[in-house]
């Protein structure tokens, strides 16, 4: 066993400090150490994107980053995006447009989609498909995920316009 490291993270606005072995993957830190079990593990080859979180403004597959690498980072998971009493427009849209079935890819999908819409608030269908290509879904066939993201984009843009 290698020497444990002192690691500080800010996850969903809350400071976390702990000792971890360098080999601890961030997805395990979130799920097993911090009990943030929305991000999931769907593969071991960095393809599926079920573990996607936002780290310092980037969509990252947390299975492909060590907690030690993230030391000092700000992390947002699905739990920090919205909750049952205060859904994010993407969460509402996934519900209304049937953008999920088993729900296993959904936390990674929605977390990735928040960043996609931040970078491109008015994406075309093609841009959504390409922008979500790092997230695999076994249930939906993607069609309703696209619709959900389109609906959320429209909702968020309308809300932004109303606020201005």
């Amino acid at each position: 066993m290698s020497k444990k490291m002192h690691i500080k993270l800010n996850v969903n606005g809350k400071d976390e400090e702990f000792l971890a072995e360098p080999r601890e993957l961030l997805i395990y830190t979130l799920r097993e150490r911090l009990n943030i079990t929305g991000p999931h593990i769907g593969c071991e080859t960095s393809h599926c994107g079920a573990c996607t979180v936002t780290i310092d403004g980037k969509s990252v597959k947390s299975c492909t980053m060590f907690a030690a690498q993230a030391d000092g980072a700000e992390i947002t998971t699905i739990e920090g995006i919205g909750n049952p009493d205060d859904l994010h427009p993407l969460q509402t849209a996934f519900k209304e447009h049937h953008g999920l079935q088993c729900g296993y890819c959904t936390p990674g999908m929605i977390t990735r989609a928040t960043k996609l819409l931040e970078e491109n608030p008015t994406p075309t269908e093609e841009e959504i498909r390409f922008g979500m290509a790092g997230n695999i879904c076994r249930c939906t066939g993607y069609q309703n995920i696209i619709k959900s993201i389109q609906a959320a984009a429209a909702e968020m843009n309308a809300a932004k316009e109303a606020a201005e």
Partner: protein
């Protein structure tokens, strides 16, 4: 999924990196974005007792577009390449290729330096850099040296970089003329079944210069001087395309895997190269 234990280092400068490399030799390895190395560690195909994270080392994340060359720091990510307007204007083939590499999440993390230094023939940037006649700068305890991309790749995962050296930057002569990076793959994020990087200069209706390199069709990227020469002086008509493809096929050496048998890969390589040349020519 579970990597073996290792010691982790996050030095602040290159001197710190080199001293760890020197102390631990083969047992130490640098990590950039981690999106080739960590997957290999998770499968226990890479054994890295001492892991040196380069993220805090300054001076390796800049893109500099100069009058006759472009310098890209090794820690520049694929996402940085895609987002950089000046770079896209100066060398649009880089953005075209980067958009065909991996997926959004991987592109936020994966770096140009890691892509070219990895040594996996599946990586796209090595062939691209050979097409562009890039030079890789590596630094070791004896100082810096430059290695042309066309001389860098020796075999799968074997490159001209010594174990105690770190690749710090890629320098590209400002590309001229039309361009194309054409990649055949099974799906998003897949390494190429075959890919071609082409830069081509048109003078009147004649090809004045051409550069062609192929990806994942040998145990290294393949710069095909013969294919490039087959186009120069021609009107890039069907006969010239056929000659370039024939010359390229003489330089590649694909192996059978689940992307297909050798005959298929040769066929796809020809189709991809024709498409790449046609698109580059149309932009020249």
């Amino acid at each position: 999924m579970i990597p073996a234990a290792f010691e982790y280092y996050r030095p602040k400068d290159i001197a710190g990196v080199l001293s760890i490399l020197e102390e631990h030799g083969d047992d130490a390895r640098v990590m950039a974005g981690g999106h080739s190395l960590i997957p290999m560690m998770k499968l226990r195909m890479a054994d890295v007792p001492h892991l040196i994270d380069l993220q805090d080392v300054g001076g390796m994340s800049d893109i500099t577009v100069g009058g006759d060359s472009i310098r890209i720091g090794a820690m520049v990510t694929q996402a940085d390449i895609i987002d950089h307007e000046g770079l896209t204007t100066a060398a649009p083939i880089l953005r075209e290729a980067a958009l065909q590499i991996a997926d959004p999440q991987v592109r936020y993390m994966g770096t140009v330096g890691g892509n070219v230094a990895n040594g996996d023939p599946g990586n796209d940037m090595p062939g691209l850099m050979q097409c562009l006649d890039a030079v890789f700068t590596v630094i070791g305890t004896d100082g810096e040296r430059d290695i042309p991309a066309r001389d860098f790749y020796e075999a799968a995962y074997m490159t001209a970089r010594e174990d105690e050296e770190v690749l710090t930057a890629v320098t590209i002569p400002l590309p001229k003329g039309g361009w194309a990076y054409e990649k055949q793959k099974r799906k998003i994020g897949d390494y190429a079944t075959a890919a071609a990087a082409v830069q081509i200069v048109k003078d009147g209706g004649t090809c004045a210069a051409a550069s062609i390199a192929m990806t994942n069709l040998s145990d290294t990227p393949v710069y095909s001087e013969a294919a490039s020469n087959a186009l120069v002086g021609t009107a890039v008509d069907d006969a010239a395309l056929g000659a370039a493809v024939a010359a390229m096929l003489g330089d590649i050496d694909p192996t059978e895997d689940n992307r297909g048998p050798v005959a298929f890969k040769n066929h796809v390589a020809g189709v991809i190269l024709r498409r790449a040349i046609a698109r580059a020519w149309s932009r020249a």
